[in-house]
Amino acid sequence: MAVKKNLVTNPKWCKGCGICVAFCPKDVLAIKKEKIVIENPDNCIKCGLCELRCPDYAIWLEEEE
C-alpha cells in the first residue's frame, strides 16, 4: 500500500527565492510577503521536486503515520 504523503513548509527557514514556485509542475506554490505559501494543495502530485531544490530545506513531503 502506498504511503500517504503531505506537503509541509517551514516559513521560518524560507528566504523567498522562488525556486520551488518556478519548478513546481502543478503551480501549487506561491511566495507571499517573501515566504512560501501552499496555494493550491489539491493540485499537488507529491513529486518532491520542491524538496529536492529548496536551498533552505523549508518545504518537504512528510509521510503520514
Binding site: C17, G18, I19, A22, R53, C54, P55, Y57, W60
Partner: protein
C-alpha cells in the same frame, strides 16, 4: 520540525544557514547528505572536511565528524585524516577558489596519489564571501568586482584538471539536476580512490548580478538548457554539443591502486602492527 533527512544528517539548531536567498550551495549540501544516507554509512565513520569560503560553511551544518580548516588546505587535512585512520570515509567539501586557486597544488597532488577521498567542489564561479572577485572558474569575458571590464583569464575545467592530474573518478553535477547529483555523489563515495565532483552552484548575489544572469531561477534554467548528460552526449553528433556542458560521470579508472592500501602494505612489509 524539518524533514527526516535534514533532521538525521544536519545540525538543525544551526539552521537556517547563512547562504544568500537562492544560493545553490544549500541544494548541493542536501545532495551530499542524501548521498551519504543512501550509502548507509555509519555517521561516526564519516568525516567532512572543508576549507574556507561560502562552500566551506557546509562543514558547520553537517552532523558528522567535521573539520573546518585553513584556506585551500581542506585536501591536505583530509589526506592526514585518511592516513591516520583509513577506515574512515573522508568527504571534502570545498569551493572553486579554495580548491583550484589557493589549494590548487593540494588538489593536483591529492589527485596524483589516488588517496580514497571524495572531493566535492561547490563551484559558484566567483569568490562570493569576499565580495565577488573573479576566481579561476569565472568564465572568460565575464565580470567580477576585480574584473569590471570582463575577465581576460581562461577558466579551469575542474574535472578535466583532476583527471589529467591522476584522479580516478571525475564527474560534474548541477544544482538543477538534483536527482542525478545524488546518484553521482553516491558513486563517487563508493569509488575506492580519489574522486572529484564539480557541483555547479548558482550565485545570484554576485556572479548573477555582475553578469546580468537574472535570479537563481533563471540561472538554474540556464543549467537545465546548457547541461547534457555525458552518456547522452556520447551518442550525439559534435555540432549538437556546441556550447553544451557535460554532466554525470566523466571519467573512471579502476587500474590504479589506492594510496592508503599501498601504505599499509609498506607497514606490513616493515614489520609494523606487531
Amino acid at each position: 520540525m524539518p524533514s527526516k533527512l535534514i533532521e538525521k544528517t544536519l545540525r538543525v539548531n544551526r539552521l537556517p544557514h547563512i547562504w544568500c536567498p537562492g544560493c545553490g550551495h544549500g541544494i548541493l549540501m542536501r545532495d551530499v547528505a542524501q548521498a551519504i544516507d543512501n550509502c548507509g554509512l555509519d555517521p561516526d565513520k564519516v568525516v567532512i572536511v572543508s576549507g574556507i569560503g561560502c562552500s566551506s560553511r557546509a562543514a558547520g551544518y553537517m552532523n558528522y565528524n567535521t573539520l573546518h580548516t585553513t584556506h585551500g588546505r581542506a585536501l591536505a587535512f583530509a589526506t592526514g585524516v585518511k592516513m591516520a585512520n583509513p577506515d574512515l570515509t573522508v568527504i571534502c567539501i570545498t569551493g572553486d577558489g579554495d580548491c583550484t586557486a589557493i589549494g590548487g597544488n593540494h588538489l593536483i597532488h591529492a589527485c596524483r596519489r589516488n588517496i580514497d577521498i571524495t572531493s566535492i567542489v561547490f563551484n559558484n564561479n566567483i569568490y562570493g564571501m569576499t565580495g565577488g572577485q573573479y576566481s579561476p572558474t569565472t568564465p572568460h569575458g565575464e565580470k567580477g568586482t576585480t574584473a569590471p571590464y570582463g575577465n581576460i583569464d581562461y577558466n579551469f575545467d575542474i574535472p578535466k584538471l583532476a583527471e589529467a592530474a591522476g584522479a580516478t573518478f571525475t564527474g560534474r553535477c548541477t544544482a538543477y539536476h538534483a536527482p542525478q547529483a545524488i546518484k553521482l555523489i553516491e558513486d563517487a563515495i563508493k569509488h575506492h580512490g580519489f574522486s572529484l565532483i564539480e557541483g555547479m552552484s548558482v550565485c545570484p548575489t554576485y556572479y548573477g548580478r555582475k553578469n546580468k544572469k537574472g535570479d537563481s531561477v533563471a540561472m538554474m534554467n540556464w543549467q537545465k538548457d546548457t547541461c547534457i548528460d555525458a552518456k547522452v552526449a556520447s551518442k550525439l553528433p559534435p555540432e549538437k554539443l556546441e556550447g553544451k556542458i557535460l554532466i554525470g560521470e566523466l571519467s573512471r579508472d579502476e587500474s590504479k591502486e589506492e594510496y592508503t592500501d599501498m601504505y599499509m602494505k609498506i607497514i606490513e612489509k616493515c614489520g609494523g602492527n606487531k
